[in-house]
Symmetry: C2
């Protein structure tokens, strides 16, 4: 398995953790020198927190781990394309690179709905979408299908 | 004094609190039914947290106060135009309206560098910039002038 897929599998495990809490299943990990230093999964409902997206939680935890707000040299893996809030947090934390799984045409801010990496902010980073895209999209698809079934 | 200026003065007090910690002086408050329910000021350096912007902290605190992630019916006052992360957090929290003081041509995401309120996300809100603009800009200007002086 290539390393990007390995880290994305760890992010998928976080998405599973969100699903078990009946949260929209999105997960993220942050890697520094080949090691996962922080994890996060969406807890918007259970945490009663509009900012508790997987990426934002992982970024806050990684900063705590490195002892400063700059995550230079770190890479984020997340199962879904970041929303504007999370893409902005990636800029603010100076992450080197972002790998995401599924694309989000409705709110994706790294190329789908807009591209916050290309508007002239004071930091840019490498981006690659579509890593384990099928699995990352499938867990979301199943979650929302289950929700619709319950509502019937 | 009109009510918007009154609330912006409370946000300016938060900016002062940031300045006293040698942080970039930006402050925010969130108002519900005419009452300030949450406050926040930038603590990126002292908190070692890239996400510790005034708006984000105020939003997380307001959600805790109302007991849910939806801040429908609430208004945010912030001394500086929100960055993409904070503008995205405003969308995610479903705030009704945002009043900001100074414009930020370098990173402002509500009209200056970009406008995240106009790209087709699933929530839109009312925006007014320039409330007590002079005072909100002045505290930032003085802070950065002091920084430059120290570096000489």
């Amino acid at each position: 398995m290539n390393p990007h897929e390995l880290y994305m599998r760890a992010a998928l495990k976080q998405a599973e953790a969100a699903r078990r809490k009946d949260e929209v299943p999105v997960g993220a990990v942050i890697v520094q020198d080949g090691k996962i230093i922080a994890r996060g999964h969406n807890t918007r409902e259970s945490g009663k927190n509009p900012c508790a997206h997987a990426e934002l939680l992982a970024i806050v935890r990684a900063a705590k781990k490195v002892g400063g707000w700059r995550l230079t040299g770190c890479t984020l893996y997340v199962t879904l394309e970041p929303c504007p809030m999370c893409a902005g947090a990636i800029v603010n934390s100076r992450l080197d690179a972002v790998y995401f799984g599924a694309y989000d045409p409705k709110a994706g801010a790294l190329g789908s709905l807009c591209d916050l990496n290309a508007i002239g902010l004071n930091h840019r980073f490498a981006v690659e979408g579509g890593v384990l895209e099928g699995e990352c999209a499938q867990i979301l698809k199943e979650y929302f299908a289950g929700k619709r079934k319950k509502r019937r």
